[in-house]
């Protein structure tokens, strides 16, 4: 059994008569592929909708309170405990409440009063470095370290508040999944464990220029339209591809394997059910994926886009057939041994893939962080 370090999520999602993602000219984004122009939905558009949605499986619905009980001990375990044995007990004991309060607020000295904060490696590393520096400079004097720590807390109040704001749920989840960057300080950056490819239609673009007018019904004297415009409407079966780096996701969630599982479970639903669409009122661009294929393994992840280099018919059965053939050829050539599960609306067998409903797939995805051991 290969370690499930990477989770690859392939999807086929149909949208009809919509304008999901526009460029600066107001037309649908496009991609030339196999010498045929496809309609495209950009990576950033997909990510934004998955993060912003108010869906039952949105990231904001992941309750951190119980699942991340361990994250309330981060300062204790990762900042204060490493000092024990290396510095006098009184010094470390004088440092601890100052750091707990700095990070969790004035009531932060008791665990039950602490909120859930999602710190990644950069935050922990900086706090650990600062506590070590203060312990060292104290030279064994507990009173001196208490004063130094109080000064530190005051001096860095704004910075620690910025850190706390960024780590509180659900903002912390967004950064843990999709990264965060500060231009002046690469050491404070969070690397995104989720890679989202630009989605594109498996067939050539099907676009229509919709000529429309807006008429003022209350105007009795002027005939004709008040405005005449054109907008594009596209229909498409979009192939989507996402890779999740599981060890990095767990690291970004302060080592919380259960929360990583909850996040992956919800992410499967978000990818399958949340529309990346705009123009909600005029096009109702809502749908559900016709196929979700999950692959868990440790070999170099690869998109199945090549299955659609020669455009398939704009039809789920044809698209799944093309995916099946390409996957079989890849398996024959490379035998990479991923474990696969698939949810599909058509009765086509994908090589090595166990078939199930979306909830079965989402639950399986939720168990993968735990399987990394």
């Amino acid at each position: 059994m290969t370690l499930p370090r990477f989770l690859q999520i392939h999807s086929l999602s149909p949208y009809t008569a919509a304008l999901l993602n526009r460029d600066d000219t107001g037309l649908a984004k496009r991609l030339p592929y196999g010498d045929v122009l496809r309609t495209r939905v950009s990576s950033q558009c997909l990510k934004r909708h998955w993060v912003q949605t108010d869906d039952p499986h949105s990231l904001t619905r992941i309750d951190g309170a119980e699942a991340a009980y361990r994250s309330r001990e981060l300062v204790t375990r990762k900042v204060i405990d490493p000092l024990r044995g290396r510095f006098p007990e009184e010094v470390v004991n004088a440092l601890e409440p100052e750091f707990q309060q700095a990070v969790y607020g004035d009531k932060g000295t008791t665990k039950t009063n602490r909120q859930t904060l999602l710190f990644g490696e950069p935050e922990i590393a900086w706090l650990a470095r600062e506590s070590e520096r203060l312990a060292q400079e104290a030279n064994g004097d507990a009173d001196a370290v208490k004063k130094a720590a109080a000064d530190w807390k005051k001096g860095f109040r704004a910075n620690i508040k910025a850190m706390r704001d960024g780590a509180t749920l659900p903002a912390g989840l967004k950064s843990a999944l999709f990264g965060r960057m500060v231009t002046s300080d690469t050491d404070a950056n969070i690397t995104a464990p989720v890679h989202v490819a630009h989605a594109f239609t498996v067939h050539g673009e099907e676009a229509e220029s919709d000529y429309f007018t807006a008429v003022d019904d209350l105007s009795e004297d002027e005939p004709g339209a008040d405005t005449i415009q054109e907008t594009e409407l596209t229909s498409g079966l979009f192939y989507g591809y996402v890779v999740v780096d599981l060890p990095l996701l767990i690291e970004n969630l302060s080592g919380d394997v259960e929360m990583a599982g909850a996040v992956l479970h919800n992410l499967i639903y978000l990818i399958a059910e949340v529309s990346p669409g705009a123009k909600l009122g005029s096009t109702a661009p809502y749908g559900r994926a016709s196929l979700m294929l999950l692959e868990a393994g440790d070999r170099q992840p690869r998109t199945l886009a090549e299955a659609y280099r020669r455009p398939s018919k704009a039809d789920t059965a044809a698209a799944v057939d093309a995916m099946k053939d390409h996957l079989r050829r890849l398996d024959d050539a490379y035998d990479t041994g991923e474990e696969r599960q698939v949810m599909t609306l058509v009765d086509v067998e994908l090589p090595g893939a166990k078939r199930g409903s979306l909830s079965v797939l989402a639950n399986w995805a939720g168990t993968l962080p735990g399987a990394l051991g």
Binding site: Y33, E123, N159, G166
Partner: protein
Amino acid sequence: MSHKWLVIRLESPLMAFGGVAVDQEGPTRDFPAASMLTGLMANALGLHWSDRAAHQALQDRLIFAVRREREPRGEGVVRDIQNVQLTKADQGWTTFGTPEGRGGASYNAPHRRTRHYLADQAVRVVLRFQPVELPPTLETLADALDRPARPLFIGRKPCLPSCRLMDGWVYGDTAHAALCSLSGPGTFRALWPTGEGPETDTSVERVIDLADIRNWRSGLHGGSRHVVEGRVKGVAVS
């Protein structure tokens, strides 16, 4: 002296090879930058970006040449428009101790920028390390490409590869010779460093001063190297 070269195939619906970026336009050249390949290798090997010396060592040891496998019918470049909603209150903590903010400018409209991608193209890279025996070796890199520490991407995170990167081994005295031992019909546009192939014969189109190396210690690109752009023939497959 015949060297062993690792062949890497880079292919994806969208790829970004890097280029000199001014302001909010993120261009891409049609051959991968040395810094981009260094980052790709570092990602496969599991280096952290703070391992600046290790990145620098990888780039310093890298000798590579590139062959374009496929020419697009049209321009082959997608200019992706990206809009970022910024607010005055955005803040990020720093390891310096003071949070970084927006500096009080007005943010009524989103920040708009463009990122260029190569659409539906493919290249093959032949590369080796000099000195040969220092870690990581070429064999270690080949294994890391197949079982990478993190998912591999070609230039930008959405650019996920559509095929296995690790594409075999070839032998040759120079990078150009290694390129010429790759199979395929016809002639291909190619790039090789000066000193690793011809510089003046009819296969050469131009010799340029290419600014594609990064000073990993400072984090900024700096300096340039001489490269030759030209054409190579593929070995006929029987």
